[in-house]
């Protein structure tokens, strides 16, 4: 499994749901403002399990956890409640 860093999370989002994410998209920048929607989150939940072995629990499904490269990496590394 690859490491879940903020930058690998941005790469995953760009490859799978938001192809037009700018090259300089920062690790704190907001995916939702860049166009992420619930359908995109559904894809991401499936990719996170497939590529990073992360099973997202229902309690973890929040905008806060999916907001940025940084928050997604924290989620995948299992440091959230």
């Amino acid at each position: 499994m690859p490491d879940a860093t903020p930058n690998t999370m941005i790469k995953l989002v760009r490859e799978t749901v938001l192809p037009d994410l700018p090259a300089d998209f920062s690790t704190e920048a907001d995916f939702f403002e860049a166009g992420l929607d619930s359908m995109g989150v559904m894809q991401l939940v499936m990719y996170l399990e497939e590529r990073f072995g992360k099973k997202v629990e229902p309690t973890e499904l929040s905008r806060d956890n999916f907001r940025s490269g940084s928050t997604l990496a924290t989620l995948v590394n299992g440091k959230t409640a």
Binding site: D37, M39, P58, E60, R63, F66
Partner: protein
């Protein structure tokens, strides 16, 4: 004048309206009203039992492309096209049929109730003295002499009759008249064609299920069920949105449309059949799953089925001019422009969510009259999603707000006796300017 009352036609009846409009969706209704208000005797034919097309029959529950792209986040919404689009917005809001506008990301949309929109269109049409409407009526054949369509054959449940209209607006969505007359048209290869959507109305979902993190909880629940093979993979195209009334929501399911028999083609009955069957199967399975798995959905049920799946793209006419991706990206306009396109190019080439391409500046692109005019048939105009545009440009202009505007322009043009496109464009622009100043 029997305003709006369907005329009776015997087997051999021949009617000769000034303008025949094929298809009663957003574009066709606007074209019909615009032509009638110019004084043309106008006949609007629609293959289903009500008007509104995608906005009623396919349960598309918001008008996209009705407003300008906001130049800043704080900018107030502004209707992009004068005349009928502005009139419709005003009326729908005043009658409580729509609410909004609502800012969704970088765009403004107007949410509406599809059922009440159908009634609104009936009443809008019946107020026009020169407009006659026929429901359950299809165009099945057309004769061409020289560079004109001289005769059109209509069909209703095994009964056929012929018309000799002076001019025609094809607002069928599928460029039906191009196919029937063998006029050049284009269609994107199956792999890139915009995907269809199956939309159902949902009732008895507890309020709050769609606010805050609700949509993400639903998405996560469906993703889990797909991974665990409790739901088919096609459920990944699902998207929920609350409706305009408290106890109403919509489930939109984007589908790939490729069947075991053939790749997706919205003019192939096998594809259309597959999409309808799969749409029903998967939407019912999703609701059944959510009833048992998610708070707020215990009593959820499908309350409304669409009359037909929503089709985003099929045939496109080849016109005198072809609207392109660059025209939209660069917000090009000219003295031939007769309708404003303001929606980003919304690519739905997969069933896994949209990809949006915005113009470099938040400015409208002016659609030239040449893109609403058949290249080789001088009395045929085009409106709505089958107008003359490239695949990518069509991804912007297909939306209902823009369809109202292209319909209005095509209807105005079709009502005129002027032949030359440059002069005709000036006439249409003069009509629009007059409406603007009357506001």
């Amino acid at each position: 004048m029997n305003a709006g009352v369907p005329i009776f036609l015997g087997n051999d009846a021949i009617l000769n309206p000034d303008v025949l409009i094929i298809g009663g969706g957003s574009a066709g209704v606007a074209a019909a009203i615009a032509a009638a208000r110019q004084g043309a005797d106008t006949l609007l034919v629609e293959r289903h039992g009500f008007f509104g097309g995608a906005g009623t029959a396919s349960l598309v529950h918001s008008f996209c492309g009705l407003y300008d792209l906001p130049p800043t986040l704080e900018a107030a919404p502004h209707v992009a096209n004068t005349g009928l689009p502005a009139e419709l917005e005003r009326e729908l809001l005043a009658q409580g049929i729509a609410h909004g506008p609502l800012r969704m990301g970088k765009v403004d949309v107007l949410l509406h109730q599809p059922q009440r929109l159908a009634l609104f269109y009936d009443q809008w049409c019946s107020r026009q003295p020169n407009l006659k409407v026929l429901l359950h009526t299809d165009v099945i054949d057309a004769a061409v002499e020289g560079n004109r369509v001289t005769e059109v054959m209509l069909h209703c449940r095994g009964r056929t009759w012929k018309l000799r209209p002076r001019s025609i607006v094809d607002a069928s969505g599928d460029a039906v008249l191009a196919a029937l007359t063998k006029h050049p048209w284009d269609q994107t290869p199956a792999a890139e064609l915009q995907r269809p959507a199956y939309i159902v109305g949902i009732g008895d979902v507890e309020s709050g299920a769609f606010s805050g993190d609700g949509p993400l909880k639903i998405a996560g629940c469906l993703a889990r069920a797909i991974s665990d093979q409790q739901l088919p993979a096609a459920a990944a195209g699902a998207h929920f949105r609350a409706g305009t009334t408290s106890n109403e929501a919509f489930l939109t399911l984007d589908l790939a449309g490729d069947s075991p028999e053939c790749p997706f083609d919205a003019t192939d009955a096998r594809s259309l059949t597959w999409v309808e069957l799969q749409g029903r199967e998967v939407t019912f399975a999703i609701i059944e799953h959510l009833r048992g798995s998610l708070e707020g959905f215990a009593n959820a049920r499908i309350t409304t089925l669409p009359m037909r799946a929503g089709i985003r793209e099929s045939r496109r006419w080849i016109g005198e001019a072809v609207l392109t991706e660059d025209d939209l990206l660069e917000s090009r306009s000219s003295d031939q422009a007769v309708a404003n396109a303001t929606w980003p190019m919304e690519l739905r080439e997969t069933a896994r969510g949209p990809r949006l391409l915005y113009p470099h500046e938040s400015k409208a692109c002016g659609i030239p009259l040449g893109a609403l005019r058949a290249r080789d048939l001088s009395n045929v105009f085009i409106a709505g999603r089958c107008l003359s545009a490239t695949h990518r440009a069509q991804a912007s202009i297909r939306v209902m707000g823009t369809a109202l505007a292209t319909g209005q322009a095509a209807g105005n043009a079709a009502a005129s006796h002027e032949q030359k496109t440059a002069n005709l464009a000036q006439q249409v622009r003069a009509v629009l300017r007059k409406l603007e100043s009357a506001r």
